[in-house]
């Protein structure tokens, strides 16, 4: 393998047979290039999908109150259920084993004004834990904290698009905005991967919202997260226990399907992940298909190359080349060419993927990439099969009697 003379012989052959070298090298480079591009696109598609469906925390369960449909415990049916602050404290006390965090949410739309700019926005009265449930990313300032809740502060955390529309170039931090005729101080600006709609929300402490509504203690919705380590099945147990707990507390018939609505994200997550897995499967399939096409391409070229060299190999054998040296020569040459052009194809592929990645965002392909190990693995496969594809005809050529190879055509 490290015989200098043999390498010189190979380089000479490569240098003097440029077309042949180019053809086999090109096939390999193209194969690996297309593999990287397609695999990268597939990954990009997966990223987009994840952004669409998996941007919120995935271990959350949310409750909304509904109306009863069965009379129970002396109450008539069609009674409106309401959540209150003490429901939250109860859950905290009852289920410390399952609970990671919990937050209420009170949604209201309001006209929001700053100087001459105004528009309708959705506001959400929330607790600090809401940040984790929505995976809100803060760009400036801070989120609502426990002391804001305790003090019922008139603080607001606004979405990126709210800031853009109301404040234009101005820095919104510390400025005062008018939300439904109450003045709030902006303490933070956030962004969210969930898309434009999510970036038009305004978050305020839920206690402040309750204060504004005649100091009640009503809550629209409760969002809580279970500890991830209890897993999907654990979350189902938790969900069942919560349902039982609330039905008892709110005097809802055990069989009533309508008293409260529970949405377990873990269930959705499972479905979404199945979809993501299918996407991954398609990506892998496309990648494998490309690889196989590449391998077939190299095999064809190698058969052609060896066929073309039959006479030369016959001459070499007549001059004293052993079958082993003939096979070695062809293999070494083909592996050298495949490796070199494989690396070139890989580098070009990665480069192209990087440079067109930004443009493709509009076509649902976000941040296409290929991890190094996959790229190297694909290249290794191509090299190995290129070697095998070269070995089989080389072996046959080495076995051909020189007298047959030298026969005049």
């Amino acid at each position: 393998m490290f015989n200098r003379d043999r390498w010189q012989e190979i380089f000479e052959t490569i240098r003097k047979n440029k077309l042949r070298t180019f053809l086999s090298g090109f096939t390999v480079a193209l194969g690996i290039f297309i593999f990287i591009i397609l695999f990268g696109f597939g990954n990009g598609l997966k990223n987009t999908f994840q952004e669409f469906f998996l941007d919120d925390a995935t271990n959350t369960i949310s409750f909304s109150p509904g109306k009863t449909s069965i009379p129970y415990d002396g109450f008539k049916s069609n009674r409106k259920i309401e959540f209150k602050n003490d429901d939250i404290t109860d859950i905290k006390e009852q289920f410390p084993f399952f609970l990671e965090y919990i937050t209420p949410r009170i949604s209201r739309t309001a006209v929001v004004k700053y100087k001459n700019e105004f528009d309708n926005y959705s506001t959400r009265g929330v607790g600090p834990a809401h940040q984790f449930a929505e995976k809100t990313i803060l760009m400036k300032g801070r989120y609502i904290n426990e002391s804001d809740i305790a003090n019922k502060s008139k603080y607001a955390v606004i979405g990126r698009l709210v800031a853009r529309d109301l404040f234009k170039q101005e820095n919104p931090l510390g400025k005062f905005i008018d939300i439904g005729n109450s003045v709030f101080k902006v303490i933070g600006v956030f962004q969210d991967d969930g898309g434009d709609r999510e970036e038009r929300y305004i978050y305020i402490p839920y206690t402040t919202r309750q204060l504004l509504e005649k100091s009640n203690d009503k809550v629209d919705q409760i969002i809580l997260a279970f500890k991830p380590q209890i897993g999907h099945s654990g979350s189902l147990v938790f969900e069942r226990k919560l349902r039982e707990f609330f039905k008892k507390k709110k005097s809802i018939a055990p069989k009533d399907p309508n008293g409260i609505r529970i949405r377990n994200r873990a269930d959705q997550l499972k479905q979404n992940q199945q979809f993501a897995n299918i996407l991954q499967l398609i990506v892998t399939f496309v990648g494998l298909g490309t690889l196989i096409a590449g391998i077939i391409g190299i095999s064809n070229i190698m058969v052609f190359v060896v066929k073309e060299r039959t006479k030369e190999l016959g001459i070499r054998k007549a001059l004293g080349a052993t079958p082993k040296s003939v096979i070695q020569m062809i293999l070494q040459e083909s592996i050298f060419i495949t490796t070199l052009s494989g690396i070139i194809g890989m580098l070009i592929g990665v480069f192209v993927l990087k440079s067109i990645g930004v443009i493709l965002k509009d076509y649902f392909i976000k941040n296409p990439y290929i991890d190094t190990s996959t790229a190297l693995f694909a290249m290794l496969i191509l090299i190995i099969f290129g070697g095998i594809a070269g070995y089989i005809p080389a072996k046959r050529a080495a076995r051909i009697k020189p007298i047959v190879a030298l026969r005049d055509e």
């Binding site: 001459i315 070499r316 007549a318 052993t322 040296s325 007298i403």
Partner: protein, 233 residues
């Protein structure tokens, strides 16, 4: 140098077999220049192929330079060819992407001779055949006679015991044929053993001995007075 005893060779052609060589006894001394003649189908090429270890015999024995040639596998045959034999073909069989010097040095590469030594030897043998100035040319830039001289230089570069020439002048015009034969005679005069397969009477007469084959047997084996090719050049 060469002893052949009771050589038989047949080729299977489907169900029937074609008996090509039917018991050949034949010996060549060192320094001989032998012409093997015969019409096509007489078995002369088969005989040369067996002598050149490009083909194996069915029956009989073949001794070359006191080595009994038998049980040849491909690797062993390749080594013997490299050590004992030089080949010259009708169609030259030069490697077309290698220069004259690279072609000549190729058998030395398979002998494991170092690169520098190979180059020196190649120039030396090209000088011998009068083509020193053409060493960097590709075969496509050479005339037929020049190609055959390069092929002869290549055959001699490995210092073979026997030079086997299969219709060396078959693809050349008369004048060039005589030039090539002149070269072969000179190499023979230096003490090299040479076998030439030909069907041309005038080429055969330039050898020292003529062996005629017909239908797989030797029908005539005579020593002749050599005609010097130099007289015609």
């Amino acid at each position: 140098m060469i002893q052949i005893k009771n050589l038989h060779k047949s080729y299977k052609m489907g169900s029937s077999s074609l008996h090509v060589l039917k018991g050949i006894d034949f010996a060549v001394e060192k320094g001989e220049l032998v012409a093997i003649m015969g019409s096509s189908g007489s078995g002369k090429s088969t005989l040369l192929n067996i002598l050149g270890m490009l083909d194996v015999l069915d029956e009989g024995s073949y001794t070359l330079d006191d080595v009994l040639i038998k049980d040849l596998d491909e690797t062993k045959a390749a080594k013997y060819r490299n050590k004992f034999l030089g080949f010259v073909f009708q169609s030259f069989n030069l490697i077309n992407y290698k220069t004259a010097a690279e072609n000549v040095s190729l058998p030395l590469y398979y002998q494991g001779v170092g690169r520098k030594e190979r180059q020196e030897q190649a120039i030396k043998y090209l000088t011998m055949v009068g083509l020193a100035d053409w060493s960097t040319h590709l075969p496509s830039e050479l005339s037929g006679g020049q190609k055959q001289r390069v092929a002869i230089a290549r055959a001699m570069a490995s210092r073979p015991k026997v030079l086997l020439a299969d219709e060396p002048t078959g693809a050349l015009d008369t004048k060039t044929s005589y030039e090539v034969m002149d070269l072969i005679q000179k190499i023979n005069q230096e003490g090299n053993t040479i076998l030439v397969v030909t069907h041309e009477e005038d080429i055969a007469k330039m050898c020292k001995r003529i062996v005629k084959l017909k239908d797989g047997v030797i029908v005539e084996d005579i020593k002749v007075n050599q005609v010097l090719a130099a007289d015609y050049v």
